[in-house]
Symmetry: C2
Subunit: 256 residues, 2 copies
């Protein structure tokens, strides 16, 4: 089992080596500015770790892992636009629209999304692209609820906005590793719990969402419960789950 | 051969009957507002007419035809945003961002693009989604050249911004109809010429692009030449090309 750091390095190297569509011309610079910037790479690393734990070939999963990161990056670039959160900074640097202007950032986001689909479609199995498309539609639905203040059902908003792409990070890994449908139940449970965990910790760090509605100790308990359920799902899967356990710990105790 | 009007009616009915991802929630209203509004449906009708002329089953091509229209609609919704052309009207109604706000229009455009890919991925053959993805990347590259004023090579800008999706309208039709690769050469030529024709006539009607650089008679001649070359390509393909000929005439002599 490769440690998480090695998987992260593989993701970084693969992203840097990506060949984008030549028709994008100079727009490529804006795409690279966003997806080559320092990110945690949580989703692609999760995908690669699932492939390894499930006995698959990590190298084969790199296009799927990169596709997940590009979908995530597309959502950040569009989220940061003045039409949405109007956020001038991202990952410690000026946001795409501050660096390149609103119009170019809008098109860069669009192109990141389509490049993600192109990577997902590089597999013979169209199920990989289909699962990524379903997850992306859920994510957009979550963002819509978020910007329109439709957050009475915060759990549903989280499940869509964050959970869908985490679930797909596991799901795409299972497909690449060739895990059969009847062996996926605990994996799916794990994907749901780690996505929830990520979002609850996000709320704690950002002091919003759940953290603005519940006492701090209660939100922390929700995070710990999700982490424990994620670990329990891993316990039920045969094989070496050590790297995935580390990822759960890393997300549960992250500080940024 | 069904006349073009019948194909257009089939597209309209199919678009109205589309089931969108339930996770989009109320955002669906913004998507429908844009794709159910009165449009010429040039690209999907072209796709269906190619399928019929090539001996395929038009019904089978409806998802691909709708996907082409959704990609086109996505590009209009994002083009109209203040970050791009800041256009308050589209098809005789308020633009999406005027009706729903910038943030919702941005997300609606994103969702239209992903729904288009979902339709393209409803086929067993992943080649259909792959061709749509390539065309969309080219279109975005063309839009980028357009908004950054990189229009010295106007022919290349047109080939990307308009031509790519026209070529894909023919290409997706050929795939659905099962036309073999070795029989596609004249079809591809036809696709390139009808896309060029559409854009030149667009420039004449909008009094920009080529029409702002060349004498009116010369631009008209470019349109007529493209129409003649499109007809010549059809002459070289066995089968009943009558509806496609009508489409060429309709585009060559359109007034809106």
């Amino acid at each position: 089992m490769r440690p998480a750091e090695e998987l992260r390095a593989a993701v970084e190297a693969y992203l840097r080596s990506l060949t984008l569509a030549s028709e994008l011309g100079q727009l490529e610079e804006a795409l690279r500015y966003s997806f080559e910037s320092k990110g945690k790479r949580v989703r692609p690393v999760l995908c690669l770790a699932v492939v390894e734990a499930a006995g698959g070939d990590m190298e084969q999963a790199l296009p799927a892992a990169a596709a997940l990161e590009l979908v995530h990056t597309f959502s950040l670039v569009h989220d940061d636009l003045p039409a949405m959160d109007d956020d001038p900074e991202r990952r410690g640097r000026p946001s795409s629209h501050v660096e390149f202007g609103d119009g170019v950032a809008l098109l860069a986001g669009d192109a990141l999304l389509v490049e993600a689909l192109r990577l997902a479609l590089s597999y013979e199995d169209p199920g990989i692209a289909r699962e990524l498309v379903e997850a992306t539609l859920g994510m957009i639905g979550g963002q819509y609820r978020d910007i329109t203040g439709d957050d009475d059902d915060l759990a549903e908003l989280h499940r869509l906005k964050t959970g869908k792409l985490f679930a797909a990070s596991v799901g795409l890994g299972l497909r690449v590793a060739g895990v059969s449908e009847r062996n996926r139940a605990h994996w799916r449970g794990f994907g749901a719990e780690i996505g929830l965990l990520f979002q609850v910790v996000d709320d704690i760090l950002d002091e919003d969402g759940l953290a603005s509605r519940l006492p701090a100790a209660e939100v922390r308990r929700l995070a710990d419960d999700a982490a424990n359920r994620a670990r329990a799902e891993l316990d039920a899967i045969p094989g070496d789950m050590s790297v995935l356990r580390e990822l759960v710990d890393g997300i549960a105790f992250r500080t940024a």
